[in-house]
């Protein structure tokens, strides 16, 4: 093999290895993204003919003035604001428990991670039964505590709480895994030193575990904010395929889905998608900014 061929091979080879990834990225991420952006400016866009009435901000103006969309934005916001901190807080407790060196801890670890490998829809149906006002497990447990039955599913105002409870449960295992791996990366010697000085478990948790875990907590907050902002599939099993019992619980992605598949209004659906993207983008950037200030070392 001549020297020139060899150097040519050197250039082609890495490109060949990288190409499947770039191929996928271009076809399934980059192209759709640009296309959605373009469609969002086309009023009354028709997918089949490719025709449209006007090029402009009409779709955006419609969406941003649409009460249903604003309501969806509010619902999604409430969902994110409650689900992310609650699940992170609970996951922190569970991850700490699962990080103890106890007999049979592997069994508990498996139990906690099991929801991760089950389908959200299948589990959602189980939750629907558990939420049932008359014979559901949740109201049954509450009755032992002398709390009268709550209309989780059939009273519209309660629907958001029902969704939040299911949502917290749904992202808990993934959050626990991330936090647990973060915990296991902390050098146990720090705990030994602190214990030698007589530090209480709570003191160690507050002054050593939390600061050293803060990069992981930041990552968890970003990932969960993004994933919960896209809440949509959780609605189907619980509310029989509708956004809340009285169509009262539109979320942003459900709204987009509704515009696209049901109303066949692609331009407006695309505009709503772009708005969601911009909101998430801004949220992520600000969270990264905050995390920089958190970083202790």
């Amino acid at each position: 093999m001549s020297r020139q061929q060899f150097s040519l091979n050197n250039k082609i080879e890495p490109i060949l290895y990288l190409s499947p990834f770039f191929f996928g990225l271009i076809i399934w991420t980059l192209y759709p993204f640009i296309n959605v952006l373009l469609i969002s400016f086309k009023e009354n866009y028709n997918l089949l003919t490719g025709s449209y009435k006007n090029l402009g901000l009409g779709n955006y103006i419609y969406v941003l003035n649409n009460l249903k969309f604003l309501n969806a934005l509010r619902n999604t916001g409430i969902y994110v604001i409650f689900t992310v901190p609650i699940s992170t807080f609970l996951a922190l407790i569970f991850a700490n428990l699962l990080n103890q060196k106890l007999k049979g801890i592997a069994l508990f670890q498996t139990a906690y991670f099991l929801p991760l490998v089950t389908s959200a829809t299948a589990i959602g149906l189980v939750w629907k039964l558990m939420f049932n006002t008359n014979f559901g497990a949740i109201n049954q447990i509450l009755s032992y505590l002398n709390i009268s039955p709550i209309h989780w599913l059939d009273y519209p105002k309660n629907n958001i709480y029902t969704l939040i409870i299911f949502g917290v449960w749904n992202i808990l295992p993934f959050t626990i895994i991330l936090l647990l791996s973060g915990l296991q990366n902390i050098n146990p010697l720090y705990y030994t030193v602190a214990k030698l000085d007589g530090a209480s478990d709570f003191k160690i948790f507050r002054r050593i575990t939390i600061p050293l875990l803060s990069p992981t907590i930041g990552l968890v907050l970003i990932i969960n904010t993004i994933s919960t902002s896209k809440v949509y599939s959780e609605l189907f099993p619980i509310f029989s395929g509708r956004p809340g019992i009285a169509d009262n619980l539109y979320t942003v992605v459900y709204y987009i889905y509704d515009l696209f598949y049901v109303k066949w209004d692609l331009g407006k659906a695309a505009a709503a998608s772009v708005i969601l993207f911009l909101i998430l983008f801004a949220l992520t950037l600000s969270q990264l900014q905050i995390q920089k200030k958190w970083k202790h070392y």
Partner: protein
């Protein structure tokens, strides 16, 4: 505080990591636990600190039995090999953290921390994070953190092993200085005999969990009671020859060394490099010069004796070259005889 060990033993399953130690460390002394890796010196230190429970025997601090006392109640300060400074805290926070745990008021604990930082000379680095410090500086901070609670005993586990050669020299002098200023009883684990020889009041030399000899460094060097003690201490290392004593001569492979001893038996002759004189008329044995090395102010001589190489120092008057045979005489000091069990005769 005086530390008393009474028949202290540590077993890991059937393996005896520390075997029946009875020892006393006097108040204010700097004691080195010295031995090759795996000899149980860190295990012994961790039993004194309380991190590892004792299998058999008792540990006393003065007259107080601390065998079953939790580490945090033993009034000790510990420094680990890799320092274990909290990476998210500044130097000041690191040093004052033990007092924060004791709920000492912020102003008071910071004042004490600054005082400690001055003692170990890191008072200009108080706002830095551990990652911004050199190894030696981290070591100083770790010592300050261990000392801030005014412990009765300071325990250091291989504190210099992570430092480069020059810093190691500097830090061992610093540890000596800090120990002398605070007068805290200090127990120091190391596998480096030079380190132990240079700073300690007393060396506890261990091998395979067994106590070999405890004494002042110079006594261990001049008067080793076991063959292992004589070979472990000293650089360049001692020359050992295993052979038989027969009527006025030590014999190795039919080659003889004139020696004064009382019984005919198998012995090991151990000769410090500095215990060999050159004497062409009245010599004890002869050997051939194999190599001469000039190292700094000293010149090291390698002598071929039968199939063995012996080390000694050349004198300025020695006018022999490589390949020449020379007559050698053993001094009284620095020549030891051990029996086949390794005990001094």
């Amino acid at each position: 505080m005086q530390v008393n060990l009474k028949n202290v033993t540590k077993k890991f399953n059937d393996f005896k990591a520390v075997n029946n130690f009875t020892l006393t460390f006097e108040e204010g002394e700097l004691i080195c636990l010295l031995g090759p890796s795996g000899c149980g010196k860190s295990t012994l230190l961790n039993m004194i600190s309380g991190i590892i429970p004792v299998t058999e025997g008792k540990i006393f601090f003065d007259d107080r039995d601390v065998t079953n006392l939790a580490p945090q109640h033993r009034e000790i300060g510990l420094v680990f090999q890799n320092y274990a400074l909290y990476p998210h805290m500044s130097v000041l926070e690191n040093i004052s953290f033990p007092l924060e745990i004791k709920k000492v008021e912020k102003k008071e604990r910071e004042a004490l921390a600054v005082e400690m930082a001055k003692l170990v000379k890191v008072d200009t680095l108080l706002d830095r994070k551990p990652a911004e410090l050199s190894g030696g500086q981290q070591q100083r901070v770790a010592i300050a953190r261990a000392l801030i609670k005014k412990p009765k005993i300071l325990l250091l586990d291989e504190p210099l092993s992570n430092l480069d050669a020059r810093l190691r020299l500097e830090m061992r002098e610093e540890i000596r200085r800090i120990q002398q200023e605070t007068k805290v009883t200090t127990i120091f684990v190391t596998h480096d005999q030079e380190e132990a020889m240079s700073i300690s009041d007393k060396i506890v030399l261990m091998k395979d969990g067994v106590l070999m000899q405890v004494d002042k460094p110079q006594v261990l060097y001049d008067n080793p009671l076991k063959e292992f003690v004589s070979t472990f201490l000293g650089n360049p290392p001692i020359n050992t020859i295993k052979g038989n004593y027969n009527n006025g001569f030590f014999e190795y492979n039919n080659q003889k060394i004139k020696l004064n001893y009382h019984t005919n038996e198998e012995i090991t002759l151990a000769i410090r490099p500095e215990a060999i004189d050159f004497d062409e008329e009245n010599y004890d044995f002869k050997a051939v010069i194999k190599e001469r090395f000039k190292i700094g102010k000293e010149e090291l001589l390698m002598l071929q004796f039968n199939d063995l190489l012996l080390r000694t120092y050349a004198t300025d008057e020695l006018n022999k070259n490589v390949g020449d045979e020379i007559g050698l005489k053993l001094k009284n000091k620095g020549v030891f005889i051990f029996d086949n069990k390794g005990d001094r005769k």
